[in-house]
């Protein structure tokens, strides 16, 4: 099977599941498909840095969580009629997605810029670990900062709104997330095939060579890291809306690990890799969880087998399209 056909199949399945949920009157299917979609967006973000740029970030929970908290905090201010800032000028909260999204994107991009500027001075394991350290900083900050729920998290009792749509309807919200996923995939496809993408992928393989032709690998990688953080941050904002709740756990290193697993499981540097990875992961979690209490054991076993024997991830395995990543 060609990768292109496989990708179309993935989109088909992703759309079929919530529709099946509607027909069978199983709203849980819709929630599940929405969760997969949102996590896939986070993965598409990480894939830009990790897959195409070779920047193994173990701290993308930071951006996912920052996006999530931005959406949660601003919406909760609006729901409580409690302005964010009264002095020197009044800033009110809002539950308008069209305002929340750009803010989540810009603020997580800003965090990615700062973290990227400092982290890109290192490489290899040090890069993995310094990105982890920054995410942990934010995680512990969120835990010990009492204003927005601290360790208990922050509830947002109404999903944010979008003009003309009823976002509380599961299928509608899925639709919004699906459009975002398609947009993120399209964006990363354009990006990785552009001149910038060429330089990014070259920097991953041979940074010295890139510098010798007069391109700064640092600049290329930093831009990729910021875009990557911004996309993952948007996913975080959607995730808050899905759960109507945000807690420090979205900032924990488990979240970073899971986003990374989606990317690797699906296939590194493949456009639909994160979607396939997130879907396989969530489906495994759900089905194994239904069969046995110790489902994590079997999940671990399957992951190890994938790493040891299925290089190129699920897509690589199914499409038999070998690449030298």
């Amino acid at each position: 099977m060609q990768e292109r056909h496989f990708n179309l199949l993935c989109i088909f399945f992703l759309l079929a599941i919530p529709i099946a949920g509607l027909v069978l009157d199983e709203p849980y299917y819709i929630t599940l498909a929405t969760k997969v979609t949102i996590l896939a967006i986070a993965g598409v973000g990480l894939n830009l840095a990790l897959g195409y740029g070779g920047l193994i970030s173990f701290g993308h929970a930071a951006f996912f969580g920052v996006g999530g908290y931005v959406a949660g905090i601003i919406a909760s201010h609006a729901l409580n009629y409690d302005p964010i800032l009264e002095w020197p000028f009044l800033i009110e909260g809002t539950t308008q997605m069209l305002i929340l999204w750009p803010l989540a994107i810009v603020i997580s991009a800003f965090f990615a810029l700062i973290i990227g500027l400092l982290s890109l001075r290192t490489n290899g394991v040090y890069f993995i670990m310094i990105t982890l350290a920054f995410a942990q900083m934010i995680y512990y900050f969120a835990i010990s900062w009492p204003s927005y729920g601290g360790e208990d998290g922050l509830s947002v009792y109404l999903r944010s709104s979008f003009p003309g749509l009823n976002t509380m309807d599961g299928l509608t919200f899925f639709g919004i997330c699906f459009v975002w996923l398609m947009f993120a995939v399209w964006l990363s496809s354009r990006m990785t095939n552009s001149g910038f993408g060429l330089a990014l992928q070259a920097s991953k393989q041979n940074a010295v060579r890139v510098a010798a032709v007069g391109i700064k690998p640092f600049k290329v990688q930093l831009i990729a890291f910021v875009l990557s953080g911004a996309i993952t941050g948007l996913a975080g904002a959607l995730y808050t809306d899905l759960n109507r709740f945000v807690s420090p756990s979205v900032l924990s290193w488990h979240t970073s690990g899971e986003i990374m697993i989606f990317v690797i499981l699906g296939g590194v540097a493949r456009l639909y890799g994160p979607l396939v990875g997130a879907a396989v992961f969530i489906v495994l979690e759900q089905t194994l969880g239904g069969v046995t209490e110790n489902w994590q054991f079997w999940l671990g076993l399957i992951l190890i087998i994938v790493v040891l024997f299925a290089r190129g991830g699920v897509i690589g395995l199914l499409t038999k399209e070998v690449r030298n990543e």
Binding site: L50, I56, F58, L118, R121, T122, N123, G124, V125, Y126, I128, M129, I130, L132, A133, F134, Q136, M137, Y140, F141, I143, S144, W145, P146, W253, G257, M260, I261, I264, L265, V268, N294, W295, Q296, F297, L299, G300, L301, I302, L303, I304, V306, V307, L308, R311
Partner: protein, 306 residues
């Protein structure tokens, strides 16, 4: 604030630091010699703690429990190395991260299945319970002092092992030139298994020692694992000396930060916000320390420049 209270906190920091050193020594050796990122290192800490708790409650002897922690973690380490880990040495960091992340799931669930979801407790033996009066009238827990002494002894032992024994020579050679020592007829895969098991045993010991202070439960290894990574990254990956310095730095920074920062902020803020800001920053302090070290020295304090 009294000086004795401060010294007590310094001792707490040292105790925490030496415990982190036991955790980090294996991690940094495995990375330096085999080039492997092992996220599952925290599982050996957990295995050691469970083995100690189980054996100690079965035999009634804390000391047999400690011995059991070393053995159980070493055996688990050797087995995992032979079955899974050795297939990962030639893989990139990404595969190593994923596979060892999966190992954590495996170990945690297996432990939960064996011991159930409830935490176990490990009692301090009579000889080490209670406290001791140190010079200057400082009263300090005997058991924590014991951890400090064990840490110092192990640190000395490891330095002797690395610098004076044949195994140490091979370990050092393995760090610098893998192909060469293989060509010289050293059984490299046996060496790797030994190094990995040694590191696992030390982590197991750390888990057992801490098991008497905290509860023994599934998932206890993960927070410590992250701290151990912070330690080896600060110290420079592959360096035992770096791991020691890094561990003590992290132990002291964390303990003293939690102790001093709220008081410091109390000097110019109202008590409630001083406590919350102080403890928020204190909990981030070691990560700030790590980022600062890496920005100043991208390969850690004692790391080789890439």
């Amino acid at each position: 604030m009294s000086i004795t209270l401060f010294i007590e906190q310094v001792l707490n920091g040292l105790q925490f630091g030496f415990m982190l050193f036991l955790m980090s020594a294996g991690l940094t050796l495995v990375f330096g010699v085999m080039g492997l990122i092992n996220l599952a290192h925290g599982s050996f800490y957990m295995i050691g703690a469970f083995a100690a708790a189980a054996i100690a409650s079965w035999t009634g002897s804390f000391w047999l429990g400690l011995l059991a922690s070393l053995m159980a973690a070493a055996i688990a380490g050797a087995l995992v190395e032979m079955v899974v880990i050795r297939r990962l040495y030639k893989r990139d960091h990404l595969d190593q991260v994923l596979a060892t992340f999966a190992l954590i799931l495996l170990f945690s669930e297996a432990t939960r299945w064996l011991f159930g979801a409830f935490p176990l407790y490990l009692d301090v033996p009579a000889i080490l319970s209670g406290s001791l009066t140190l010079p200057m009238g400082i009263v300090y827990s005997k058991y924590r002092l014991f951890i400090i002494i064990v840490g110092i002894l192990i640190a000395i032992g490891l330095f002797l092992l690395i610098s004076k024994t044949r195994l140490g020579v091979r370990i050092r050679a393995g760090e610098s030139d893998r192909e060469m020592i293989a060509a010289l007829g050293v059984n490299i895969s046996k060496l790797y298994t030994i190094v990995f098991a040694l590191g696992a045993a030390l982590a197991g010991l750390a888990g057992a020692l801490i098991g008497s202070i905290q509860s023994v439960e599934v998932g206890m290894g993960e927070p410590v694992l992250i701290l151990a990574f912070v330690v080896i990254v600060i110290g420079g990956i592959g360096s035992i000396k770096g791991a020691l310095i890094g561990a003590l730095l992290v132990g002291l920074t964390d303990t003293l930060g939690r102790f001093l920062l709220p008081a410091l902020f109390g000097a110019f803020l109202d008590p409630a916000s001083a406590t919350s800001i102080g403890s928020a920053i204190a909990s981030m302090l070691i990560y700030i320390l790590m980022a600062a070290v890496l920005i100043y020295r991208p390969s850690g304090l004692y790391g080789k420049m890439a």
